[in-house]
Symmetry: C2
Subunit: 145 residues, 2 copies
């Protein structure tokens, strides 16, 4: 996924924040590294390009960009947190525990489930992003059974 740099920069400046090389590097990194990017992966990536860019900045910028809704925070296996570009439409993932592959799940699939929860339990599920863990086609067939 590529992001609209000009648009994002305009948005940030309009809100009184600054567009810095670090923020651009970190955003590019999340973009290039794909879905479910960990802070450490971001750090590894940007640190190669800008060796003085610190871990503290990576964490701060990831938080910042999430607050600005430019990034989204997602849960990954083992209860860790990761980030990805915040798309206009919520989407979800099927994460294979064996090969770590990702399958994207359109939002529509979750809607009926959400509605059921709402009517049966009067509980409004936050469905900005969900990850489900399990096993994909390939791993199920190769693992036998």
């Amino acid at each position: 996924m590529s992001h609209n740099t000009a648009e994002i920069n305009r948005q940030l400046r309009k809100s009184g924040y600054r567009v810095t090389p670090q923020r651009q590097l970190i955003l590019d990194a999340v973009c290039q590294l794909g879905d479910h990017v960990t802070p450490e992966a971001v750090y590894d990536h940007v640190h190669r390009i800008a060796p003085t860019l610190s871990r503290a900045t990576v964490y701060r910028v990831l938080h910042f960009l999430t607050e600005q809704q430019i990034l989204a925070m997602v849960h990954i296996a083992d209860g860790r947190l990761a980030y990805e570009m915040a798309g206009p439409e919520p989407h979800h993932h099927l994460v294979c525990r064996t090969c770590d592959s990702l399958l994207e799940l359109p939002h529509s699939v979750l809607l009926s489930f959400r509605l059921a929860m709402e009517s049966q339990y009067d509980f409004e599920i936050d469905v900005s992003h969900l990850s489900f863990f399990g096993h994909c086609t390939d791993c199920r067939s190769s693992a036998g059974a």
Copy 2:
């Protein structure tokens, strides 16, 4: 929830493991503290009773009891991990982000969703435990909206 101590002890010994006061204390703690118990909460609890019981032991025993399927590991808010008694039947939770209350969700509710994922995406979701985050009745009404 109370657990069948005698049965569990028998199971452990049968597998060649030992029943120690620490293991019993930690199991009792998870039992008493309820669903979604963090390692730190367990430590706080047992440390009051047995001040020499160390954090290392808490972590080791929680892992151990999970391997033995006496406990189950669950994801809670903020990507943290917690534990609870492993019931005979999988169950799931609706976790309120506002008041942290828990609603139990019977396994049956998830079955249709699971089947849908399996047929549409050929992906087998691991449904040993799922937590959904959102807002409960009370918090939705009091927060306005």
